[in-house]
Symmetry: C2
Subunit: 462 residues, 2 copies
Amino acid sequence: MNNIQSYIKQHKDRFLNELIELLKIPSISADSAYKNDVLKTSEAIKISLEKAGCDSVEICKTDGYPIVYGEKIIDKNLPTVLVYGHYDVQPPDPLDLWTSPPFEPVIKKTDLHRDGAIFARGACDDKGQMYMHVKALEFMTSTNQLPCNVKFMIEGEEEVGSSNLSVFVKNNQEKLKNDVILISDTGMIANNVPSITTGLRGLSYVEVEVTGPNRDLHSGLYGGAVANPINVLTKMIASLHDENNHITIPGFYDKVEELSKDERAEMAKAPFSLDAYKKALDIDAVYGEAEYTTNERNSIRPTLDVNGIWGGYIGEGAKTVIASKAYAKISMRLVPHQDWKEITQLFKDHFESIAPEGVKVKVKPHHGGQGYVTPINSVGYVAASKAYETTFGKTPIPQRSGGSIPIVSLFEQELKSKTILMGFGLDSDAIHSPNEHFGVWNYLKGIETIPYFYKYFTELSK
Amino acid sequence: MNNIQSYIKQHKDRFLNELIELLKIPSISADSAYKNDVLKTSEAIKISLEKAGCDSVEICKTDGYPIVYGEKIIDKNLPTVLVYGHYDVQPPDPLDLWTSPPFEPVIKKTDLHRDGAIFARGACDDKGQMYMHVKALEFMTSTNQLPCNVKFMIEGEEEVGSSNLSVFVKNNQEKLKNDVILISDTGMIANNVPSITTGLRGLSYVEVEVTGPNRDLHSGLYGGAVANPINVLTKMIASLHDENNHITIPGFYDKVEELSKDERAEMAKAPFSLDAYKKALDIDAVYGEAEYTTNERNSIRPTLDVNGIWGGYIGEGAKTVIASKAYAKISMRLVPHQDWKEITQLFKDHFESIAPEGVKVKVKPHHGGQGYVTPINSVGYVAASKAYETTFGKTPIPQRSGGSIPIVSLFEQELKSKTILMGFGLDSDAIHSPNEHFGVWNYLKGIETIPYFYKYFTELSK
């Protein structure tokens, strides 16, 4: 890949400004109030793909937000890379914790990002990482160095379950035909410790509603005499973990893949400082399932977390009321072989079964996805590994991620190809949190590394 | 009391319209956004007391909302009745459950209120019940039948703890000197089963905050590896009750007054239908402390209820986040001899002691008050009982209420006089709930009954 570094140097400011413009659009797929912004973002993606050199780009309608599809086919006999990314973002709240507005991107230096990082919702997840691929394509086409065919599929519903993408994939297998799928929607260990994600957790996301009396009640007149939906909900949620922080849902662990001592020993080699971890989060101790390390708890073990809870009076001051209803949003991270639909059903059956007399309980499944593990001896993985070696000067470490990209296992099932997860973000980039950011160095390093993946993948495929 | 019935008949519409005007002002003391409305209400009370015949009325400044004080002294040698009430109201939310706007009063018929009931926040608690006393005074002064001296003390902070009233009372003992204190801020069993409240529960209201990591985290990357403040909060709250719904705070029950078999048998005589109770609340079962009846659970037993809980993402859709903080508002209803400050400290010590590693816990006391029991052989009680006999044709049943009027025990302590709780509302009037209302019949019956209390109290005091 001739001149990639000089090309980046020359166009660096434009690469940053183009991303900043994209980040200014609040494409929050979870909140229908932002519908027009999400649609506007799909238009922007279409234009950027055309400018980057795609021959044909289309905005494909779905029952939800559209999928932007673009391709550049140079020779049917050459391999084809399918790039997947998403242009929607997580809701930014709590807003008061942002040091700058989430949709007014600014570049600020941090301890880990000495060259500065772009602070904005979506900077890393996933607009920034997705846009690296657009710019990498621009470089390869404008310098006539694109070694194979490429297809882009950029969706707008990843943060809400990708339900329409799965339909799209099933209905467009020929169009999406490829030899490898390339995604940058994960992280790496550190800027000087490159890693490639070889595993993802599955997800089951549900919302529960506990209803007690048919109206809010005065806690003096009724307190102690009727089931309080909030107290009941806390008891029910608390019971979902035992004293060892094992999840108590019957059957939950039945299909969990148990790693061998050797595999766990291999994992343990990844550099990790528990003190630095605690310091970064300002906590005095970690917490989790007995007999597993922190890195195991958030990667090879399934978990259950309450993501939101609400009920009763949450305004200023005091209100002595017993609420009629209490709610919680609960998500479970799953490991390979746990089927998210099966786990969702197990949760529903169990949660409804533990409801005490005097309340009614509803469990509403939100969305979910399967976990995924990729072998490290596939052509795609080896090509990615060589690409990192070239640009980082180090062999990347294979790493299991605790996150989920529900669609990945569906890709393998429907398109019969492996997915390579080349992530350039850091865990500390605060994705899904206030002050999400993406290092300028990481952004440019991604643009530099991706073309080498194309090069090596094409060579190794011969 | 000559012509009281004909007087009420003649002025009924005006009595209703004056109350409706008062109910239109949203005097929500818990929410500073309504400051001007609360102050406006105090002005309206001042004017109404002047019109009703008070000689001197003043708006007394405090560090919070003012106290309206008025008096009519006809003869220093005659007894003095001190009327207490409050002009502030509870927040109206959840607004979507109101069938008509909370501050646009309307009169609607209900099964229990065949003559109609005024629907509005504060209709019963306490604007409606407080205003009965103003209209009763109007009758007695305008027909020259006021048999003794009367003082009014109407505050604007009852729903937020009356902290400034207590200071006012301590500093104005001479001004507030009286022979009996009369309050209508409770209920009665039914329109055909009059009752007088002889006991009130105390209150301790706290807010708790659980802090985990220093920022919201991605539940995929951190789920299962750090303490989730919401999961932890649910575990902590759940642990506050054991399997028999006894409260687990060490020392909580130490000073609880245990009633004798006879007293409990006496209480059990009050007419009560568990089926009707469950039907009215649309619940399939009641719930509470083992070995106590529903009426005991909400009157002679202390309780702990979560009044509000919140944390994480509570918006539309899904967000896979681990919140940095989780909160709850918790109130405890106390019985006589439990000291609210002591209980608040016990709660604080216990709740902080059960916090697991990995989180920080803050307990912020909101407000509280002592419980109260009044003997049924006092001059005041006997006078009230005779007043009900006269206007209801039935002897009222002495009844313990589960509610709290924190200031009552302070009155006895500071002013050395007994409080008589003549309440004319019904439990079904939905105070503190959406669609609060107050029966037109009850409103007028109160206005009719109160003057007889003055008459009998003056006669019995001779």
